[in-house]
């Protein structure tokens, strides 16, 4: 039996040795070690694409942990063409084999390129790509008024989904639906609305006395957390999707910006306890508030829990704002990644969209938390901030 195992292993080794072509020294093997901010990108070469298609492929792959190198240094060779439609293939240079070959038809070259980028990411990493995902954000004019927008994750195809000509803020996608919660001063007071993007209809969710803001849809879409001041303090409340069954969860001193854990059990928020600004969590059913220590990242606000449950991203404030990520179980201190505010996780828990200041106006940016590769999406419709990444992978 022992011999049998040995022979099996030998046979498999022979096969793998043949496939992976040991001895090709010019190619650096990059293992995917996911260390926050310190992971080496996967080197790929790109040929045969031009214009918008090449731009889309480069953007999508860069913010998902790939780097572009000369063909001789690439671990994977990505080839193809965009004459008429996008066609492309991926060759594993070590294994000397084609691991993806596909063609795309329909809609436009941009969407085809995003779909090809998704297939490349899946072929190489086994993880679903973010090429066809959407974000929502607020776009503010110099007078403070603005509108809620949705766009592709890279900022293309922006569309206003409000026409309020009022202060708006904090869009939050309702998982599984084409719908958003957001805050608008359309009726003068800061109130919370639910907007159905497939019908254009909306309704008031919270319009109590005082301020109503920072809505966050629960992962199953059945509830919404928010900040209300109707009882005399800005505290965390939760209610059903239609606004019913309102429950106050906290009576903290300085509570703000609630978010949900992906299984819907916890609500994480920013607060102040014993004079220190902290992150904390409370059961969505109510109960004791538990501190989440963010040692080394002072004044945390705007937490966002990753869809895979592993991480909490947030903004730390010193003299400037920084995007930080820490394990959600508190097993390690936060890692400070780049300057910026209000991070929101991609559906695959690898990339963040956030905003940062350029000449006192906000611009959206996309960050791969493992390689720390970051790209601005460019200014879209004013001062663009408070991005929310739609967690559903396919639109």
């Amino acid at each position: 039996m022992k011999n049998c195992l040995k022979i099996c292993l030998l046979a498999l080794f022979a096969v793998f040795a043949a496939n992976f072509g040991y001895g090709q020294n010019e190619i650096t093997i990059t293992h995917e070690i996911t260390v926050l901010g310190n992971t080496k990108p996967i080197p790929v070469s790109l040929d045969g694409f031009s214009g918008e298609v090449a731009d889309v492929l480069k953007f999508d792959l860069y913010v998902q942990g790939f780097s572009f190198v000369a063909p001789e240094a690439a671990q994977y060779q990505i080839s193809g063409s965009n004459s008429g439609n996008v066609t492309g293939s991926v060759t594993d240079k070590l294994a000397k084999k084609v691991i993806l070959s596909n063609a795309y038809t329909g809609t436009n070259l941009r969407r085809q390129a995003h779909a090809f980028a998704n297939d490349i990411v899946f072929a190489i990493t086994g993880k679903k790509g973010i090429g066809l995902t959407k974000i929502a954000f607020k776009a503010q004019q110099p007078d403070g008024t603005g509108e809620i927008y949705v766009s592709d994750f890279d900022g293309h195809n922006p569309q206003a989904v409000t026409h309020d000509n009022a202060i708006v803020s904090a869009p939050s996608w309702v998982p599984g639906r084409l719908a958003l919660y957001y805050n608008s001063y359309k009726l003068e007071n800061p109130d919370i609305f639910y907007g159905d993007l497939s019908t254009g209809q909306r309704r008031v969710v919270a319009r109590y006395g005082g301020s109503n803001f920072s809505p966050a849809a629960s992962p199953d879409g059945s509830r919404v957390a928010m900040i209300l001041s109707k009882d005399g303090r800005p505290d965390v409340y939760v209610c059903n999707a239609d606004g019913s069954n309102l429950k106050r969860l906290t009576t903290g001193v300085e509570d703000s910006s609630p978010c949900w854990s992906p299984e819907g059990r916890w609500i994480c928020f920013a607060t102040k306890i014993a004079g220190r600004r902290l992150l904390a969590k409370v059961s969505a059913e109510g109960g004791e508030v538990q501190v989440i220590h963010t040692t080394g990242a002072p004044n945390p606000t705007e937490p966002d829990w990753s869809p895979d449950g592993k991480w909490i991203a947030f903004t730390s404030q010193t003299s400037e704002f920084d995007i930080c990520v820490m394990p959600a179980d508190g097993s390690a201190s936060p890692t400070v990644l780049v300057a910026g505010e209000d991070p929101s996780w991609s559906p695959n828990s690898r990339t963040l969209v956030f905003n940062h200041s350029v000449s006192h106006r906000q611009t959206l940016s996309v960050l791969d938390v493992f390689t720390k590769q970051v790209k601005d999406v460019g200014r879209i419709a004013g001062s663009d901030s408070e991005p929310a990444w739609r967690k559903d992978l396919n639109f």
Partner: protein
């Protein structure tokens, strides 16, 4: 033993073939579908306003409850009457400074002079601080004035709050002079609608 070897080799070959892929097949084609195109939003339905609580005279833990928006939404806003009594705050603070007490007393007197009036307190912040944090901070500044007015004898059920966070700066500058001006509460006197 022999059988196991054959199986293992067969498995190895299968793995190789699966990993290599069959190169003689035609390239698969993925047809694309258009993404979503949201229609323009329709106007919001007439909002239903929940009834507000009533103040019992005690300050409960977590603040003094506030009346609903229906109690003042039809009132006439007078922004000029109390403009002189705008109060300012220290950086990242909602503590009312002693220097602002005289302004609060003037506001309290104005409310005492006409029991038909109500008050809207608008809290504001400078640009330092994240957006939703500042929305909470602005609300805390407005609520701090409301509590201080309650201590001066004003019925808190006549006082309503609203936060603009850092979205409505008085001074668009990016220096301490501008920030000082932007950390403030405005007091808006509310008169009954004529004829009501």
């Amino acid at each position: 033993m022999k059988t196991t070897l054959i199986y293992s080799l067969a498995f190895a070959v299968a793995v190789t073939m699966a990993a290599t892929g069959c190169r003689h097949k035609a390239t698969p084609i993925t047809p694309m579908h258009a993404g979503m195109t949201p229609p323009p939003p329709t106007e919001p339905m007439p909002p239903t306003l929940p009834p507000g609580p009533t103040f019992t005279g005690e300050t409960p833990i977590g603040g003094i409850p506030m009346g609903g928006q229906e109690l003042y939404q039809d009132m006439v806003q007078d922004r000029a009457a109390l403009a002189a009594y705008t109060i300012h705050f220290a950086y990242d603070s909602s503590v009312i400074r002693k220097s602002e007490q005289a302004s609060l007393q003037s506001v309290a007197q104005a409310l005492a002079a006409d029991s038909n009036t109500k008050l809207l307190v608008e809290g504001n912040c400078d640009e330092r601080g994240t957006e939703e944090y500042n929305r909470s901070l602005g609300e805390r500044r407005a609520l701090a004035a409301r509590e201080a007015l309650a201590k001066l004898g004003v019925d808190p059920m006549r006082v309503f709050t609203r936060s603009y966070g850092k979205d409505k700066p008085v001074d668009p500058g990016h220096d301490e002079a501008a920030w000082q001006k932007n950390r403030h509460d405005d007091f808006v006197l509310l008169h009954p609608k004529p004829g009501s």
